[in-house]
Structures are given as structure tokens and as C-alpha cells.
Amino acid sequence: MKFGVVQFPGSNCDDDACFAIRSVLAQPAEFIWHQSEDVSGFDAIILPGGFAFGDYLRTGAIARFSPVMRAVTRFAKSGGLVLGICNGFQILLEAGLLPGAMLRNKRLRFLCRQVHVRIENTDTPFTRAARPGQILKMPIAHMEGNYFCDPATLAESERNKQIVFRYVHPDGRPAGPDDFDANPNGALAGIAGISNRERNVVGLMPHPERAVELALNSVDGLVIFRSIVESLSQQPAPRTAAERVPA
């Protein structure tokens, strides 16, 4: 089993994703350079957070044209697991691998804070180790996290159970449309993360790789990485020591 973490110029959470996989999950991970068109040998690919190509135009708008994205698209079409985190999610949207688009946060400011998301679908390779309805505390850090799509796409996503993560209050209450405490960027229907129809591609705005150790104040992101490991190995991935400590 080998994870690949794509490095675009301007990616800045690539090291963090790699560290989480290698040091916390004890799984092999390697970087994939943005100009590479070869992703053979990888079992799961992560598009990390950051500001690919500076994001001066529209987030992800330039990165999607990188040579590596042709390979990632082929990989996804053949059923490979692809996880986009923050900027990685934005790139997947631009590349058309996930439905919808990202707008600026409703209050037009960059926001970095802990949020709570509820797992809406545990029948994905990225959430299978989670309890249905499990609430995860993870941080966000972005300017464009206000998910948007047209009503037809939203209806279809709901119907297909493609909405994987939704912003909620700490106690699980759903976030209203202008409920900035719980849904700080104003995302449509509180959508924090979605999958494609086939569920092998998932993007989310919160950073699970920043919530994998007690030293970082949350270990809730681990369940996502463990789910990937379980999916790839077809056997339960053991919880890490940190996860066993009661919150």
C-alpha cells in the first residue's frame, strides 16, 4: 500500500499530509511532482492544501491544467482513491472530478478555526471506519470554502448520498444558512465535503491531517486516513494510541 501526495508549486500542506500518513499511520507515502504524468504504483492519491500556483486567479483554476492532473484523472476514472483537502478539494472541483464550485467565504475573510462536521455517509472508502453520524472536530483554513452548486446538482448529490461531510454545531445540531458559528463560510446546505458518484473521489475543506495527534488538540481526522487504509487492505486498521484515549 502506498500513498502519493501531489506537490504543486504553492502546495503548503504537502509535508503535513505526508507526516500524518508516515509518522502517525505508519504507512508509506511519497510525493508526486506536478509535472509527472506517471502515478503507477500508488494506491491512494492526496491533493494537499495550500495555494497552488498562488491561487491568484481562481482557486485551483491553474493547477487543474498541470500534467499530473491528467494522470490523477485517469487514476480516478479507473477507481483509484483520491482525497482532496482544502486547496486539493478546490482543484478537484475545477478539474470536474467533483460536482459544484467554490465561492469566497460569505464574510469575505480568510478563516482559520476549529469546526465540527458530521459524517453523512459511512459507505465510502474514506469514512467506512467511522460511526454513522460521527462528529469530527477538525480545523479549516481558507478564503474560498463556500461550496455552491445549482439546485439540480444538489438534488442529485443528495439522492446519490454524495454529501459526505456537513458542518454542524458541536452537539450535532445542523447549521442554518447564516449560522456562521457552525458553518463559518456559508457553504450551501452546510456542505463541507462531497464525493463523486462512484465514491472513490472525495474532497473536503477541513484539514484531517491537522487533527491526527493529541498535541494538535484533535485526533478526529485519523478516522478518515484509517478508512483509506482499511479500504486498501480490506481489513480493519487498528486505532492509534491517541484515538483510544477518551476525549
Partner: protein, 769 residues
């Protein structure tokens, strides 16, 4: 006519900010009149900003040595040993004037500049801190009659600066983890933006800006050179503001954090090849300073062909190229024959890297342009032989300090309403509106970020250690008594670091002052230096670098003298790090007290300088609280011991707003996942001063800790070993927030109502900008 042909006259030299004496020295050094390019290069290198001509004589008094100091002042940043073969590289720098002229880009490039100083030395930046000072953002007793227009403008400056800092750090990928913000009328026309960056390197991987190897190629890397920022260092940073200052906007540089991120990765990768002999970023005075300083430090010369410099605009003259402060550029000396390895790395990252010259043995900075020599100047004269001034000094304690002191409310009066006003004041209110616009977590080292503790704590993935770091500085106190106020800046930063359980090991300082040509400003400066020197000596935190920012005045009115201290500490066991928030209901609240007993009169004088006196009564008078440096050192040592023994559960020092605000913050910071938070029940029975003094006084040397009841005896015993008093203040509850004075109620209310005021007021004041 080409600019190079412009005739240099004494008058032109004066327009470049050079005095007649300085111009005469230039002619003597060259043995002839300088040409226009040479004049420009001299003027920036000999500016106050680059040459430290007014401050150098005094900076020598700062302690700079210590067992852990690997590199003191004089390089791009200070370096200290943090064990396990690792070093911490850190420095603070100002970007005040650009941030007033163009808040967003000024602040952004301030962050960019200090980050380059860190990675130039081979270290990867792991944190940024910002120390900010603005004019008042709301009406009130402390706003000194600022008009609505002035307040609106101050808010826009705050907004621009905060956005600029976020824009740069967030994209670059360094967490902004701590800092402080204060609001005083004196900063309305001269805000302060001081940025501190911290990086980590293996000791053997450090790089220095010292040219070596005659014949080695000089390589220019990074962004292209444009006409932006010309004379930033000389005209913008080394002169007072006048009504025409807005015209200086073209002197402000424009930042590109994406480019800087690429430059960081390329530089660190190029350094790993072993083909880089020396490297220096192009910051203030751009190509002029990087080339002459590298040559001078190596005792060599550098020759450059300016036609090869990558240019963003056409027809740039040598003068413009040498003085441009375009951002995100580096100058390297490579090992001869290994240039290709360097080029390959930069090209991989999509960056320009061009051989523009070579190292020579004649000590001359020689510039060629279009087939002829455009300048020939001894490099050492530029970098090291700038003028040094012993400016006149005149003690002139400002009249305001003799102003009226607080007339205390009668004892027994309810202080809850004043407490609310204090919690809402911008200086004390939660800074979350600002800090959540910064990515404080990228790189996954931030164990304790904004609002979580008295200092930021960053774990080191390579070891079990962590670093703690904090900036502090109280301009109001330095205005009332520069020496004592400056000592407080050192002590408070060090105490904050120790409250996390880390041992303070080194410091960096940013000295923000008015016009040094005024004897009373120079007096403030020398007093502050002496205060910093004394405090750093006692606390064993040598100064490893920093920056002096003079000419912080507009229309002849200087800012408060504002030395900002950044103190770095090491936690031997990251798991022992302490936050400031309470942890469990039923824990005991204890004060560790290292403050000296003062008389009632003295207490009243000290109280005149407090945040409370300013916010409630509009008074800025008296003196900063007295300090006992030896006791502060014992307090710091005691905190380190208590944390490593895991004897206490939280620690928060008593500062702005006194015991009352400190207790409230301990409650607010301890908020749990379930959205509920703690409260406190306290009785102050150990202070004989007036009620307001006892509740809101800011005497130093005091720390509020929380302790499980079973640990109290151990804590008391350890504190006694360090000669400290432990005073039982109360306990952590889930009920009402209540403070009594010798059993008489002083403050009482629901903790969530207090928290709402504290958490929301800054956002309310700034939401509309």
C-alpha cells in the same frame, strides 16, 4: 538624457538625505565626485535604516553572548542552540512606514522580508508573530478626542494590515501563532507593524552571507527587478512623515507570497547540493546591500554585469536596479564549476537564476552596464564605514507623566460595570477577529496557538522538545519611564514564555522610536537600551538580533517609545506545556507572587499607568509598576520547575486589567468542546491597597495558576524554594463569576455574559470596514 549622466551636486546629495559631512566623506573615500549611481548606492547604504548610524554606539551595550548563542547580531538573523543538533533562527523587524502609506502591501512585505532573513540562513520558517500598534478604533476615554473620520481611518489601517499579514503568511505556508495589538492615539499617524519569524535548521546546515572564493560566480535568483520600492530604506524608513507622505506610495514594495514560497523551497534545496558558498536576500536597499554586504563580510569584492539582471521593466538604469526593493529576490555565491546544480534547482521551481557577476579580490563593488563601468565603490566602505553618530541626549520627562492621578472610588463599591467596560476595550478584548484571519496551524507544529496560552508553543517533530515564543512591549509605560518600561517588555515576554513551562533562552528586539535627531527621543532610546540590557542580563536572555526603527513621527509628533521584545524559550518535554485556561471544576486558583510590596501612594502612582486608568478615567500618568528583576527570575525558574513536575494545570500572568481580567481570561480560555466553560470564585484578601488597585492593578511578578487540591502542598513547597509567596485566590467553578475583596463583593455576574462582551467587541468595532 540617461539618468546615469545626471550631474551630482551637493544639493542632489542633500535630496538623497546625505548631510554635507557625509557627502564629503563619500568624496574622500572615492577620491573623486561620485556619479549618480554611486550617490544612490551610498545614500541607501548609509541611511539610518541600513547603517544604524544613530543607534550603533548604544546597541553595543546590549548583552549578546550566552552559552546557547551560535550567532548574535550582525547576520540576517540570530541563531541559538536548542539541543539535538538543532538551532532556532529568529529575528523581529519593523515595517512601520510602508504599512501606514499602504497598509495591505506594507504589512505583507514586512512578513515577506523577515521570512527571507530566516531562510537565507538555511532555516525553514516555522512561525510568525506580529506586534501591532494602531490609533484608537472606537470612541472613549482613551481615544484622546479622535474624530469619527480618524477612527474610521484607523480601522481601515487595522483591516489592511491584518489582511496583508494573512495574505502573505497563509499563502507562504507559515503559521502566524502569536503577537499582540495595542491601540493608542500616538500611533494613529504612525502605526507599528513589527513581524517576528522563527525557523529551525540543523546546526551543520546553517548558511552565512559571507562571500568566499575569488572567481566564484555571483548568481541572482527569484523575482525580476522592477522599479518598485526604490528608496524604501532611505526616504521611507529614515525620515519623518509629513502631509505629503501619501505621495510615497510608489516607494512601497508589492509582495508575492507564492513567489516567496517557491524561493524558499528552491533555496533550501539548492543549499543541500553543497554548491552554494554564500547567500543573502535582497531586502532593504536590494541589490546594493546584498552585494556590498556579502563582499564586505568576506573581505572581498564583487563585480556585476547589470545587463544580466532579470528585469521586469524596460530601460532600467543602474541606479534603479541597484536601489529597487522588488521583493522575493536572492543573491548567491556558488562554488565555481557547480553553477549548473544551482540553476537546475531554481529552474525546477520555475524561477529565474542567472549568473550576474563574480567574486573578486580587490574589495570593490564594481558594476558594469552597457559596456562601461557604472560604479566602483569599496564594498567595506558601503557596508561598514557608514557614519556613526553620538547624537545629543537630553532627559526630558514628558509633562503628561506629572498629570493627575486616579482618584479612587470608595472601597466597597461595586466594580462590575467598570469590569465590563474593561473587557470590551480593544486592548483587552479577545483578538480572535484578527487571529482567525491567519492560518495558525499549517505545518502541524502548533501545540498552543492564538488565545490558548501566554505564549505560542510549537512542538519540534524531530525531538520531544517544544519551543515557546512571545512578543511584548508597553509603549505607554515606556513613555512614562523608558528604562523601566523597556525592562517590563523583556520581563513580560519572558514571563509569558515561562507560563507555558518553557525556559526563556534568548531574545530579539525591535526598537521603535521617534526622530533620533531630537535629544529627548535619543534619551528615550538610550534609557530603553539600558533597561533592556539590564533585564536581559538578569533573565539570561541575550539579544541575538533585531532592528531599530527611528523617525516614527508625523508632523513632529513622535510615537510613544516602543521597544518590542521577542523572547524564545525551550520546553524540554513538549507534553508538559501549559495553557492559560482553567482545566477542571474544583481546582484551586493560586497566585504566585514575586511582586515587591509598595506603599499606598506608590500603588496609586503605578495605577495611573494602567489600562484601567486609561480606559475608565482617560488618565495616562504616574509610572509603570516597580520591578524586582531578581524576583522575576525566580518566578520564571519556579514556573519552569512547576511545569516540568506537572504540579500545576494552567498558568497565566497578571497583566492588562489586573487580577480581575486575568481570572476572566483563565475562564474564557478554558472553554471545553461542549461549549460550556469554567467560572471562578475568588477572594482577594492579601492586598491592602485601594479596591480598584487590588482588582485591576497591573503590578508585575504575579501569575495565576490552577492546581488540583491534592497538589497544593507540593506547589507551595516548590514556590517556597524559589522564595515566592503562594496566595490562595479561590477556586474554579461552574457557577457565577465572582470576585470579592476581603469578603466584600466587587465583581459579580454570569461568566458567559462577560465572555460575550470580551469575545465580540473587537469584531463589532471592525466588522464594518
Amino acid at each position: 538624457m540617461l539618468q546615469t549622466e545626471i550631474k551630482v551636486t551637493p544639493q542632489l546629495a542633500a535630496e538623497h538625505g546625505l548631510t554635507p559631512d557625509e557627502y564629503a566623506r563619500i568624496r574622500k573615500i572615492l577620491g573623486r565626485d561620485p556619479n549618480f549611481t554611486e550617490l544612490g548606492v551610498f545614500s541607501v547604504m548609509w541611511s539610518e535604516h541600513c547603517s544604524y548610524k544613530s543607534s550603533r554606539a548604544h546597541l553595543k551595550r546590549l548583552p549578546t553572548r550566552g552559552a546557547r548563542v551560535v550567532q548574535g547580531p550582525g547576520e540576517n538573523a540570530g541563531v541559538v542552540d536548542i539541543g539535538d543538533d538543532l538551532v532556532a533562527v529568529f529575528k523581529i523587524e519593523s515595517h512601520n512606514h510602508p504599512s501606514f502609506v499602504e497598509p495591505f502591501q506594507g504589512a505583507a512585505t514586512g512578513v515577506g522580508g523577515i521570512l527571507r532573513d530566516i531562510f537565507t540562513m538555511g532555516a525553514r520558517p516555522i512561525a510568525v508573530l506580529d506586534s501591532l500598534r494602531f490609533g484608537p478604533i472606537e470612541k472613549g476615554a482613551g481615544a484622546d478626542g479622535a474624530t469619527p473620520e480618524e477612527i474610521a481611518r484607523n480601522r481601515r489601517i487595522v483591516d489592511g494590515v491584518v489582511r496583508g499579514i494573512g495574505f502573505y503568511g497563509n499563502c507562504f505556508g507559515v503559521p502566524t501563532v502569536a503577537g499582540e495589538v495595542m491601540f493608542e492615539p500616538c500611533y494613529a499617524n504612525n502605526p507599528l507593524v513589527n513581524a517576528l519569524a522563527l525557523g529551525i535548521a540543523r546546526k551543520k546546515d546553517l548558511f552565512f552571507a559571507r562571500a568566499r572564493g575569488v572567481g566564484n560566480p555571483v548568481i541572482y535568483a527569484g523575482a525580476k527587478t522592477g522599479r518598485d520600492g526604490i528608496h524604501g530604506a532611505s526616504l521611507l524608513a529614515s525620515a519623518e512623515f509629513s502631509e505629503e507622505s501619501q505621495q510615497k506610495r510608489p516607494n512601497v514594495q508589492v509582495g508575492d507570497p507564492f513567489m516567496e514560497k517557491l524561493l524558499l523551497e528552491a533555496c533550501l534545496e539548492a543549499m543541500q547540493t553543497g554548491a552554494v558558498a554564500a547567500i543573502q536576500d535582497m531586502g532593504a536597499a536590494g541589490l546594493a546591500s546584498s552585494s556590498s554586504e556579502m563582499a564586505s563580510r568576506g573581505g572581498l569584492g564583487i563585480e556585476m554585469d547589470l545587463d544580466r539582471v532579470p528585469q521586469r521593466e524596460t530601460n532600467m538604469t543602474p541606479y534603479e536596479m541597484m536601489l529597487s526593493e522588488s521583493q522575493e529576490r536572492m543573491l548567491l555565491v556558488a562554488e565555481r564549476g557547480r553553477e549548473r546544480e544551482v540553476f537546475d534547482v531554481f529552474h525546477k521551481w520555475g524561477l529565474d537564476a542567472v549568473e550576474v557577476g563574480r567574486v573578486t579580490d580587490d574589495g570593490i563593488l564594481r558594476l558594469r552596464h552597457q559596456g562601461r563601468v557604472a560604479a566602483e565603490i569599496p564594498a567595506h566602505a558601503l557596508a561598514e564605514e557608514g557614519p556613526r553618530y553620538e547624537r545629543p541626549i537630553a532627559a526630558a520627562p514628558p509633562a503628561e507623566s506629572q498629570g493627575p492621578l486616579v482618584e479612587f472610588a470608595a472601597d466597597g463599591i461595586d466594580l462590575t460595570e467598570n469590569f465590563r467596560r474593561l473587557l470590551a476595550s480593544p486592548a483587552i478584548a479577545s483578538k480572535e477577529w484578527i487571529t482567525e484571519q491567519y492560518d495558525s496551524m499549517v505545518r502541524t507544529n502548533t501545540q498552543s496557538g492564538p488565545g490558548a496560552g501566554d505564549a505560542a508553543v510549537l512542538r519540534l517533530k524531530e525531538t520531544k522538545r517544544a519551543l515557546a515564543i512571545k512578543t511584548d512591549g508597553n509603549g505607554r509605560w515606556c513613555f512614562l519611564a523608558p528604562r523601566l518600561g523597556a525592562m517590563h517588555a523583556v520581563v513580560e515576554a519572558a514571563r509569558n514564555v515561562a507560563c507555558t513551562g518553557a525556559r526563556p533562552i534568548a531574545a530579539t528586539n525591535c526598537l521603535n522610536f521617534g526622530n533620533p535627531e531630537k535629544p529627548e527621543v535619543m534619551w528615550q532610546f538610550t534609557e530603553a537600551i539600558d533597561g533592556i540590557a539590564e533585564a536581559c542580563r538578569v533573565l539570561e536572555t541575550p539579544i541575538t538580533g533585531g532592528n531599530v526603527s527611528f523617525y516614527n513621527e508625523t508632523l513632529g509628533k513622535p510615537i510613544y517609545p516602543t521597544p518590542i521584545l521577542g523572547v524564545l524559550g525551550v520546553l524540554e518535554d513538549a507534553e508538559c506545556a501549559l495553557g492559560s485556561g482553567f482545566r477542571n471544576e474544583g481546582d484551586l486558583i493560586v497566585m504566585l507572587d514575586a511582586s515587591a510590596a509598595v506603599s499606598r501612594t506608590e500603588a496609586a502612582r503605578e495605577f495611573g499607568s494602567s489600562e484601567y486608568a486609561k480606559t475608565i478615567y482617560g488618565i495616562v500618568a504616574g509610572a509603570p509598576p516597580a520591578l524586582d528583576l531578581a524576583a522575576e527570575k525566580r518566578l520564571i525558574d519556579c514556573l519552569v520547575m512547576l511545569a516540568s513536575e506537572r504540579a500545576i494545570l494552567s498558568a497565566h500572568d497578571v497583566s492588562d486589567g489586573g487580577v480581575a481580567v486575568t481570572l476572566a481570561e483563565c475562564c474564557f480560555d478554558g472553554i471545553g468542546d461542549d461549549g460550556t466553560f469554567f467560572s471562578a470564585e475568588a477572594n482577594i484578601d492579601f492586598d491592602d491597597g485601594p479596591a480598584e488597585c487590588a482588582v485591576f492593578g497591573e503590578r508585575g511578578g504575579r501569575v495565576i495558576v490552577s492546581v488540583s487540591p491534592s497538589s497544593l502542598a507540593r506547589v507551595t513547597a516548590i514556590a517556597a524554594q524559589y522564595g515566592l509567596q503562594t496566595r490562595q485566590v479561590g477556586r474554579v467553578t461552574r457557577g457565577a463569576f465572582r470576585i470579592q475583596l476581603k469578603g466584600i463583593p466587587a465583581i459579580h455576574g454570569a461568566v458567559h455574559s462577560f465572555r460575550e462582551i470580551w469575545a465580540g467587541s473587537l469584531g463589532k468595532a471592525l466588522a464594518g470596514v
